[in-house]
């Protein structure tokens, strides 16, 4: 697995690597502040490249995922569908 580097600013720190342990390559993203990992395959990445700006803005809403439910507190991994 080739670590490509860490993408960081004052708001988040994510390590980026190409994971080639499967039958093909995937991008591996690790949120270094929590250790939570997400893999993205080529088609998912291509879709992100093409996604409309509004989709990305919606994704940046904390209530869209990790901080959705005040009763449960912040999620430890990506949440099921609401």
């Amino acid at each position: 697995m080739d670590e490509l580097g860490v993408v960081a600013n004052e708001f988040a720190t994510v390590s980026v690597s190409v994971d080639d342990r499967g039958n093909g390559t995937r991008l591996r993203l690790e949120d270094l502040r929590t250790g939570t990992v997400r893999h993205l395959d080529a088609l998912e990445l291509e879709s992100i490249v093409w996604a409309p700006e509004s989709w990305m803005r919606a994704l940046l809403d904390p209530s869209a995922h990790r901080w959705r439910d005040a009763e449960r507190g912040p999620a430890r991994e990506s949440l099921d569908e609401p």
């Binding site: 803005r57 940046l60 809403d61």
Partner: protein, 427 residues
């Protein structure tokens, strides 16, 4: 004396006082120390007129941002995905936390560290945690985003902002000072400056106007800076002598300059103004001649860089750029960087070295001035005599071909012009 009937509801005792403290040939010491005067300066000058914020080259890529200031106000200058530059107040719309802490970075969105409210780099509110507490995501449309500074304009990459919704355009504000920025940019073979050398911040316990006045005070260099001039063998002192053909010029709008170009032309050496022989920067000289042609290039390189104070906070001193930031009536920060010219790496390296020597943390030039600012602030707090004299060269002021008032290199023409403008804004 004539007496005027004034509507008592419309009297403005502070304006009357300021009018009596700022006269054509003298100013009262309290103008530097009075907190009420300072409070009005913030409202009438810093939060009303155009103030220099930063340079486009500090946010070269989409989503770059830098923290900047407008007087004591903390702002963030951002470049959005489309390339447009915004100036945002660095204050969360939830409970007022500072949103950005890093001096610079790259981010399309900012997340407040207190409760996680998240904003686009245009100021729009993108969301917040646990939105059921606000009745769901629809609340987003009702809640405010980051404060956006209403007017942002740039001239040759120099970004200015105004907290006032209406007022003169930036071009009108700059007036003749704009040409001085042109003169600076022409020294680049690509016609652009880049502020990429990093910043040093010098804080002094002095009123901001002392710095503004000093920037184009040609009377002090031979005294205050004699030690650095003598050990460095610099000829700068002689530029500010009675024999000098340099002039002090009021450019209008409170902007002023020490125009040293007549002396540089008398010297007649390309880059003589920078104390850098052609042979040491052959690539730069070749690039300049390739861009402008030999004759024009030599003229540009002989005439040199401007020494101009753009009111109230941008000072270009030939090879370095200062941004003046008041923090309180008696506290001021000077942010300073070495000017870098696009397409001039060999010259740029020398400019950084020269600036380290003059205005770096152990630089000798700014340290001299800083000592004077602080002593001056303590001095004007003393009770007698109450006034500061501004008469130097009053009897020999002239008007040049462009209609600007000029004095000799050591005359106080620039201060008188600054105060004239100040009085207009403040009363």
């Amino acid at each position: 004396m004539t007496t005027v009937d004034v509507d008592p509801a419309r009297t403005d005792p502070l304006a009357d006082r300021i009018r009596s403290l700022v006269l054509p040939d003298r100013v009262h010491g309290s103008i530097y120390t009075d907190p009420d005067v300072y409070a009005r300066e913030l409202e009438r000058i810093w939060y009303a007129t155009w103030v220099y914020v930063g340079h486009a080259s500090e946010v070269p890529e989409p989503n770059d941002y830098v923290r900047k200031t407008i007087g004591p106000q903390q702002v963030v200058m951002t470049r959005d995905k489309t390339g447009a530059i915004h100036v945002l107040h660095n204050r969360c719309s939830h409970r007022g936390n500072l949103v950005c802490d890093a001096d610079r970075g790259n981010a399309g969105s900012f997340r407040c560290p207190y409760h996680g409210w998240t904003f686009a780099n245009t100021g729009d509110l993108l969301g917040f945690p646990f939105n059921q507490g606000y009745g769901g995501s629809r609340a987003r449309a009702e809640l405010p985003g980051l404060g956006v500074v209403p007017r942002v304009e740039s001239y040759r990459g120099f970004v200015f902002a105004s907290l006032a919704v209406d007022g003169p355009t930036l071009r009108e504000h700059l007036g003749a000072a704009a040409e001085r920025l042109d003169r600076l940019c022409r020294l680049s073979p690509e016609g652009e400056v880049e502020l990429t050398a990093g910043w040093v911040k010098h804080e002094v316990t002095a009123n901001w106007k002392m710095l503004v006045e000093n920037e184009t005070d040609g009377y002090h260099p031979q005294f205050v800076h004699s030690s650095i001039f003598s050990i460095s063998g610099s000829g700068i002192g002689a530029l500010y002598s009675d024999k000098s053909t340099a002039v002090t010029r009021a450019l209008g709008g409170g902007h002023t300059e020490n125009d040293l170009s007549p002396e540089f032309r008398r010297l007649g050496v390309p880059m003589g103004w920078a104390g850098t022989p052609e042979a040491k920067i052959p690539d730069y000289v070749a690039a300049m001649r390739a861009t402008y042609g030999s004759e024009t290039a030599d003229e540009i390189m002989i005439n040199g860089s401007p020494h101009v104070m753009i009111f109230p906070n941008l000072f270009v001193a030939e090879i370095q750029l200062f941004q003046i930031q008041p923090l309180a009536v008696d506290r001021t920060v000077q942010h300073v960087t070495a000017i870098q010219f696009a397409g001039a790496p060999d010259l740029n390296r020398r400019l950084v070295t020269q600036c380290v020597g003059s205005v770096g943390p152990a630089g000798m030039l700014l340290a001299d001035d800083a000592e004077m600012y602080e002593r001056n602030q303590r001095g004007v707090a003393q009770r007698q005599p109450e006034w500061l004299d501004l008469t130097r060269g009053l009897h020999r002021e002239r008007v040049d071909d462009d209609g600007h008032t000029i004095g000799t290199a050591t005359d106080e023409t620039s201060m008188r012009a600054m105060w004239r403008h100040y009085r207009e804004l403040m009363t």
